[in-house]
């Protein structure tokens, strides 16, 4: 009982601190950029839009949308990662594993290379469709035969589809240096340069995905006790898994479609969340949804500063910043097994 209370305390403070950290990162993301404007000027522009045109263009035109994308996409990737690792019970699983990133990448390359789509709003939907198609294929493959879509089958089918789509993507890229030129920037992942309107367009998908994810976490907790136990407790395992895959596709698919396949966030953040709050999937999901955007925004801010007057893509910084932290973390703590 006492232990339970300590855990509850730990979870609550953890979530609270994470929320505070996220708020700080979001604020920084609006304050700091390649062009230093001064705290007062930024606050002034935030409070009274329509003042200085140049400041408005940077604060409202570039930084606010970028921060919005960081929050939305970060939360989506974090939740997708938590779900993915929980469902496949594989600590190596990340949102890309269902073939989501590979499907989206292939669709983007097909649309730019073959169909000549060059506008961002054009290939966002291709990316989404590609992500969805790939995860449907993975799921159908894994669902064949005894036991339905078991973790191992999902993981292997995902790896297979990823490799196949990835190979086709690469062959297209190599056939055309120009498409490669476009793709290599997309594929690293960036929060900048997105049309603010697309945020509104993908937000419904993210919200539905988040609701579905939240809905199945109690079931996933029971599933963690073993399939038979879960079934005995009246859980419909198949339904949980199908819902989980739909949620991952919506969350990761929309995230990848908008900002490119930002690696590492979805893989690492759930591990950190589990170390703070234990294996309860409800808490892991909630904490991942807060920690992931914090990591993403922090990385993005850093990327704007280190390469002045250029910027580093967030995908690069996330890995460079997150990896040492993650390694230190793996060394220090007992990594929670799934």
């Amino acid at each position: 009982m006492k232990w339970g209370n300590a855990l509850t305390f730990r979870r609550r403070t953890g979530l609270l601190l994470a929320l505070l950290g996220l708020a700080a990162c979001a604020l920084l993301s609006i304050m700091v950029g390649s062009r230093w404007l001064g705290v007062g000027t930024v606050l002034e522009a935030l409070a009274n839009p329509g003042g200085d045109e140049a400041t408005d263009a940077i604060v409202w035109g570039l930084r606010v949308p970028r921060t919005g994308f960081g929050l939305a996409v970060g939360a989506a990737l974090g939740m997708a990662g938590a779900l993915m690792q929980g469902l496949t019970r594989n600590p190596l699983a990340d949102p890309g594993l269902l073939g989501v990133s590979a499907g989206a990448s292939l669709a983007v390359v097909l649309s730019t290379g073959l169909l000549g789509v060059t506008s961002l709003s054009g290939y966002i939907w291709f990316a989404f469709a590609g992500a969805a198609a790939a995860s449907v294929v993975v799921f159908l493959l894994a669902a064949r035969g005894v036991g339905g879509p078991t973790p191992t089958k999902l993981a292997l089918a995902g790896a297979g589809v990823t490799a196949m789509a990835g190979s086709v993507t690469t062959s297209l890229l190599l056939a055309d240096a120009a498409t490669l030129d476009r793709y290599r920037f997309w594929s690293v992942g960036a929060l900048s340069g997105q049309d603010p309107a697309t945020l509104g367009q993908v937000l419904p998908f993210l919200l539905v995905g988040a609701v579905l994810a939240a809905a199945i976490t109690p079931g996933m907790n029971l599933l963690a006790l073993g399939e038979d136990t879960a079934r005995g407790l009246g859980q419909r395992i198949g339904l949980i898994r199908v819902t989980g895959v739909v949620a991952i596709t919506l969350l990761a698919g929309a995230g990848v479609a908008v900002c490119g396949p930002i690696a590492f966030v979805g893989l690492v953040v759930p591990h950190i969340a589990r170390a703070i709050c234990g294996a309860d999937h409800r808490w892991v999901l909630a904490l991942s949804a807060v920690l992931a955007p914090a990591l993403l925004l922090a990385a993005d801010v850093l990327g704007r500063l280190v390469a002045h007057p250029d910027e580093l893509h967030v995908g690069i910084v996330v890995a460079a910043l997150g990896a040492p932290f993650f390694i230190a973390f793996v060394r220090r703590s007992r990594v929670a097994e799934l």
């Binding site: 940077i58 570039l62 060059t118 506008s119 240096a177 498409t179 049309d195 250029d310």
Partner: protein, 320 residues
């Protein structure tokens, strides 16, 4: 083995060795020599007939009357349309030895029985020529590398003319002379138009970055500069571009902006205009945004229209 090898060397006309034991310039054919931009002498006992060339070089040589038997480098896009850099090359009359940097088909190359390989260089590297089998390649056909960066487009055209002439092309043919005259006329016109003092910025843009082109790398920009156009020189040393965050879009002031018009590498104009900091650049506000035909092959025929287009753009522009 030794006799077959000697016969092969004689027959194929192999140079490095035969130069030592076969007295040159006698009986058979005149010794052919060409010093490339690495300072390396390419030599054959006879003038090379079967040339395999990197596509940029092939396009330049084509307009001077040289017809390569094989080409390598980008040729067609996945949708079947031709790359801008192939110029006038008729791909149906040449064989492809590879399209991708890093995938040079030595097997195919040797099957073409080549006696010269021509490629371009940016810096010291021979573009598209694989390093490991270079000795094998050179044992069959010498390599000529022509450096393109750091030189103006005119110098680059002239180095192709020099090579074409060495390869036996008639560079005094009326078509070539006329193309050169047109090029010179377009150059003079540009110099005249540049007197207005309009400052020009050459960029390429993606959704999250702005790239400012360097004249020191791009031969066309270096030529514009030589002709008197006030081209913005970014702080990028010898790199092709300086990369800027969109927050820095107004870092370089200019009266006209010329945007890379290759559909696949640069974003559509409408989306570009939606970027708030770009829309605030004085030249953009004034509506003085024009196309930059990057990757135009280095030939008189191909570059004259580019010069004329720039003259027109400058004539339309006013100082902002």
């Amino acid at each position: 083995m030794n006799t077959t090898r000697r016969a092969f060397l004689g027959g194929m006309g192999l140079l490095a060795l035969s130069a030592c034991d076969v007295p040159r310039g006698t009986a058979g054919g005149t010794a052919w020599e060409f010093t490339d931009d690495r300072g390396k002498k390419a030599g054959r006992p006879a003038r090379p007939q079967r040339v395999v060339a990197q596509i940029t070089a092939a396009a330049a040589l084509w307009d001077l009357g040289i017809r390569p038997v094989g080409v390598f480098g980008p040729q067609k896009r996945p949708d079947g349309s031709a790359e801008a850099m192939i110029g006038n090359v008729d791909l149906s009359t040449t064989q492809s030895v590879g399209t991708t940097y890093g995938e040079f088909n030595v097997d195919k190359f040797l099957s073409l029985r080549p006696d010269l390989l021509v490629t371009v260089m940016y810096g010291e590297e021979l573009w598209y020529v694989p390093k490991e089998p270079t000795p094998t390649i050179e044992s069959v056909a010498p390599i000529v590398g022509l450096r393109l960066n750091g030189r103006s487009a005119r110098t680059n055209i002239e180095s192709f003319v020099k090579l074409a002439e060495a390869l036996g092309a008639d560079v005094k043919a009326p078509a070539v002379v006329q193309a050169k005259a047109e090029f010179d006329r377009a150059a003079e016109e540009l110099t005249a138009k540049a007197k207005s003092g309009v400052k020009a910025l050459f960029v390429s843009a993606t959704k999250d970055k702005l790239y400012i082109a360097t004249p020191e790398y791009h031969g066309d920009l270096k030529l514009f500069k030589e002709l008197g156009v006030d081209v913005v020189v970014p702080n990028a040393g010898k790199d092709a571009f300086e990369t800027l965050s969109w927050e820095q879009a107004d870092r370089y002031q200019a009266d006209v902006v010329l945007v890379d018009n290759r559909a696949a590498t640069s974003m559509p104009r409408a989306e570009l205009n939606a970027i708030p900091t770009w829309a605030r650049h004085p030249a953009v506000k004034a509506g003085q945004v024009f196309d930059w035909a990057a990757e135009t092959p280095y030939s008189y025929n191909r570059l004259a229209p580019v010069l004329r287009a720039l003259s027109e753009s400058l004539a339309k522009a006013r100082r902002v």
